[in-house]
């Protein structure tokens, strides 16, 4: 059984139809990529999967590990093993990164019936995860994303993923705005998490991330529909010919 099964998904934002019938099936151990022009509905899809308010599903369904995902609150989805790396990570003044991560991890552990980590155990654990991402104690002590550079915010998303160890990670343009070194750090972080029983959905605009995180399947999303799916060579094809061949808006 697929880990994520999206069938005929339609969704509106402010009454405006954005997703117009999406079918997507991601199996355990797989990496899928969604590419598409600006405004195609990629972030909308990621928000619908994560359960953001105001993103109304008007038709279709999403099964996650066999469970009806749309029945769950956003926090229940996270506890069930879903993770969204935000395209625009949110700043939370007054809450330190460490407190945030610890509260989130312990909420999820509690949800799974595991014991909570105490402050010392947690610190040791988070430092281990932070080190390969080039995240030091100073960044852990700062308020969540406040005053972080674009690259720091993206690395911080990957840190959260590494700490929470989700079954399915949806990465929404985690590569945009990164230079090549940062891109490699992020890709290594994602690859380090790959296991036979989890999966990754990489949303991206450019194929260069896919040189590092090699996808099993590539889907082209345009105007709220998946208009083409293929192997990793589809990404190269898109890079060469652009999105215009599908009648969508040109990539920025």
């Amino acid at each position: 059984m697929a880990l994520l099964e999206i069938r005929n998904l339609h969704a509106t934002v402010d009454g405006k139809p954005i997703l117009k019938g999406i079918d997507l099936s991601i199996g355990k151990g797989e990496v899928h990529a969604i590419m598409g022009p600006n405004g195609a509905g990629k972030s909308t899809l990621s928000y619908v999967i994560a359960g953001r308010e105001g993103y109304e599903v008007t038709d279709g369904r999403i099964l996650f590990d066999g469970e009806d995902l749309l029945e769950l609150e956003p926090d229940e989805r996270a506890c069930a093993g879903l993770f969204l790396a935000f395209q625009y990570p949110v700043e939370i003044p007054g809450v330190t990164n460490t407190t945030f991560l610890k509260t989130a991890l312990n909420a999820q552990r509690k949800g799974r019936g595991e014991g909570e980590l105490d402050a010392m155990q947690f610190l040791k654990f988070v430092r281990e995860k932070a080190k390969p991402l080039g995240i030091g104690d100073d960044m852990l002590k700062r308020a969540v994303n406040v005053g972080f550079s674009g690259g720091e915010k993206k690395r911080n998303e990957v840190l959260q993923m590494a700490v929470l160890e989700p079954k399915l990670a949806v990465l929404d343009e985690t590569d945009s705005g990164l230079d090549i070194d940062a891109l490699k750090i992020v890709a290594d972080g994602v690859n380090a998490m790959r296991r036979p029983d989890n999966a990754t959905l990489v949303i991206t605009h450019y194929q260069r991330l896919l040189d590092h995180i090699v996808p099993d399947r590539v889907h082209v999303l345009a105007d709220g529909r998946i208009i083409k799916s293929g192997g990793k060579e589809l990404a190269l094809d898109l890079e060469a010919k652009g999105y215009a061949q599908f009648g969508g808006a040109a990539a920025a």
Partner: protein, 448 residues
Amino acid sequence: MAKETMTDFPLAAAFDEAAPRLPGSDVAWLDALRAQGISTFRAHGLPSRKVEAWRYTNLNALARAGFAAAEVDVKLAALPDGAALALDDACSIVLVNGRLRPDLSDLDRLPDGVSAEGLGDLLRRAPSRAESLIAPAPNASAGALAALNDAFLEDGLILQIEAGAKVDVPIHLVAVGVPVPGKAIAFHPRNLIVAAAGSHATFVESHIGAAQGSYFSNGLTDVRIGRGAMLTHAKFQDESAAAFHVALVRASIGEDASYDSFVLHRGAELARHEVHAAIDGSGAECRLNGAYLGTGQQHIDNTTVIEHRAPGSRSSEVFKGVLADRAHGVFQGRIVVHRDAQQTDGNQLNKTLLLSRNAEMDTKPELEIYADDVKCSHGATVGELSEMELFYLRARGIDEATARDILVSAFLSEAVSELRDETLASIFAERITGWVDARHADDAEKAA
């Protein structure tokens, strides 16, 4: 012409009966001070909302409650558990319904360089010495409620820090309100804090209620900070839910002196904390910060006036609050920069988070600047919790109620962290967490 005041407040009538019982009633200057106070109060009455400084705070409920003078002696063997701030090593001085209680206080173990005595005692023993202490500064503001405090002048704390004394033990004034069943009582504590030149000290107030019930605390505290002295002045207002708490602080700040103040409001049906700070010496610093937590129908008013009268001084204000249910908050912040106060630096910020559609905030910044080389800024925001921040926390597995609590505490932490004394800051932060958790529990109960 519209009626500007409410003159029929029973305390005005009760004065004639109470006056002969007040300490030092036979002393001429005291008699004159009280007579002046009551005649001013009779002329003006309780301020109505037509008085500009009271535009957002309606005292009708106070007038209706019809408070009488608190001549009843209260039996209180011990302080209510855990109500006052937990300042472990502090030297505490207890007022019960405005009267100093040596039996509950640590007057016998004051730190070096500190003298503390009861005003009532001093008025009886050495009224002439009290006269010079009580005399207000020439520019001191005096509204109708300050006049009422003069009229009923009876007791309070006189705290003096010797010149140069570096006192690291906080002095903790615990003011307990004890409602008297079947009787609406009022009390008017008068405190004086003198930090002489070069001294360092920390003065903390906890205002708490011993039981449910109504009372009216109308306090006045004069603060004098000498040249180069540093005073930290923190206050926790957690009166009984039906109490009225009105307090005026008149501070004068000398050359190169520093005044670091903070107030946290959590209790009372109606609370007003008003600070008039006069910066009288150059190079001085005045910090007025605060946080307010309102639920139910609470009304919480923070009013500040900072007068820069000397050059090269700094003032800064951060007031942040969270209002739920039908709570009503007020912030009025006036900064006056007089002609000679060049190179003044003044910053003011007021931010409020509304947790309900029925909660309300009135905020009024006012800058009056008569000098030309001045940097002054002010800002005010009133908003709700950010949907995006909530979603971000929830997307990481944190349930909605907890996510809200985290954001509320985080919002308030900015005001608390203004307190430079980190121990005090963490004690206040704990009180805020306690409030957030209690609300969380209340909500869970309502949902069940």
